[in-house]
Amino acid sequence: MLAIAEGWHRGPTHEPVDDAAMLGPIVEELMTKARLNAGMDGKDGSWPQPQPNK
């Protein structure tokens, strides 16, 4: 199983994958379903959301 954790809970899941080259679209799909990390106010998606390399 591949999943993104949402704090102390399991978030969206996908069947296990044994080929790293397949993971790009799978992680992208999981990210669209996962709750955003909370900011210091505890609210989903509040500032700051890191934007690496942007």
Binding site: A5, A20, L23, V27, M31
Partner: protein, 253 residues
């Protein structure tokens, strides 16, 4: 096969055996130049030798890859600094650090000794912080010098830390700490072009296979194979993952 990490220099701690070995081999298959770090110690952290790391280097070289063995103790300040410097000195750059090294000293809390607590916290938590700290300083200096940085830190948390497991207050607290470290480091390092993520693996390795009272079945061995963990680590180390940071990925068969 598409090679996701062609030419990227990747340090993998605790990669002489188990999950870390699988990470190192997968990264090398995808073109990474790998620093194979392993103290060669016992599951309980007792001292050992560098031969497991050298063995993985030999495997990588036999398949045409490039790697170097390193036996530094990543839970020490000087050892972590030498490890990161080994990557730069050997391969001329650093692109990713996979903090994987770990030990177990399971005990119910009422019976746990100070030494059992301290050893697990030191190897996991300081052993994640210290290499990350020296890698972060390297990338910060590169960024401030105007050089492009596309760095990665990939930590190893655990379901024991994010969900909790009896008999592992030391290990679980360290692993939950690593998840928090991941979130905060991702916020700090985004400005330098560095992402920080974690994996929370479930696998049967030398470290975990004796935790169950009965030997694992063939099906449990397959589901617990480290081969299910290495792909997400390899992908996170690649340039493809640059938009993902501050997340914990649970991975198992």
């Amino acid at each position: 096969m598409s090679r996701l990490c062609e030419g990227r220099v990747v340090v993998v701690t605790g990669s002489g055996r188990g999950i870390g070995r699988e990470h190192a081999l997968s990264l090398a298959k995808h073109g990474a130049l790998v620093v194979v770090n392993d103290l060669g110690g016992g599951v309980d952290g007792s001292a050992g030798d560098i031969s497991p790391a050298q063995s993985v280097v030999n495997e990588i070289e036999a398949m045409g890859g490039r790697a170097v063995a390193n036996g530094d103790d990543i839970s020490t300040w000087a050892g972590a600094e030498r490890l990161i410097q080994t990557a730069v000195d050997t391969f001329g750059d650093l692109h990713a650090v996979v903090n994987n090294a770990g030990i177990l000293r399971d005990r119910m809390m009422a019976n746990m000794s100070e030494e059992e607590w301290d050893a697990v916290i030191k190897v996991h938590l300081k052993g994640t912080f210290a290499p990350s700290r020296f890698a972060a300083a390297y990338w910060r200096d590169q960024s401030k010098a105007g050089k492009p940085v596309d760095g990665r830190i990939i930590n190893t948390s655990s379901v024991s830390g994010i969900y909790g497991n009896v008999g592992q207050t030391n290990y679980g607290a360290a692993k939950a700490g690593i998840a928090a470290f991941t979130t905060i480091a991702s916020l700090e390092l985004a400005r330098y072009g560095v992402t920080v993520n974690a994996v929370a693996p479930v696998a049967l390795t030398r470290m975990t296979e004796n935790l169950s009272p009965t030997p694992p079945t063939d099906e449990e061995r397959e589901l617990g194979s480290p081969r299910w963990i290495a792909p997400i680590v390899t992908w996170l180390a690649s340039e493809e993952s640059k938009a993902i940071t501050g997340r914990v990925f649970e991975a198992s068969g």
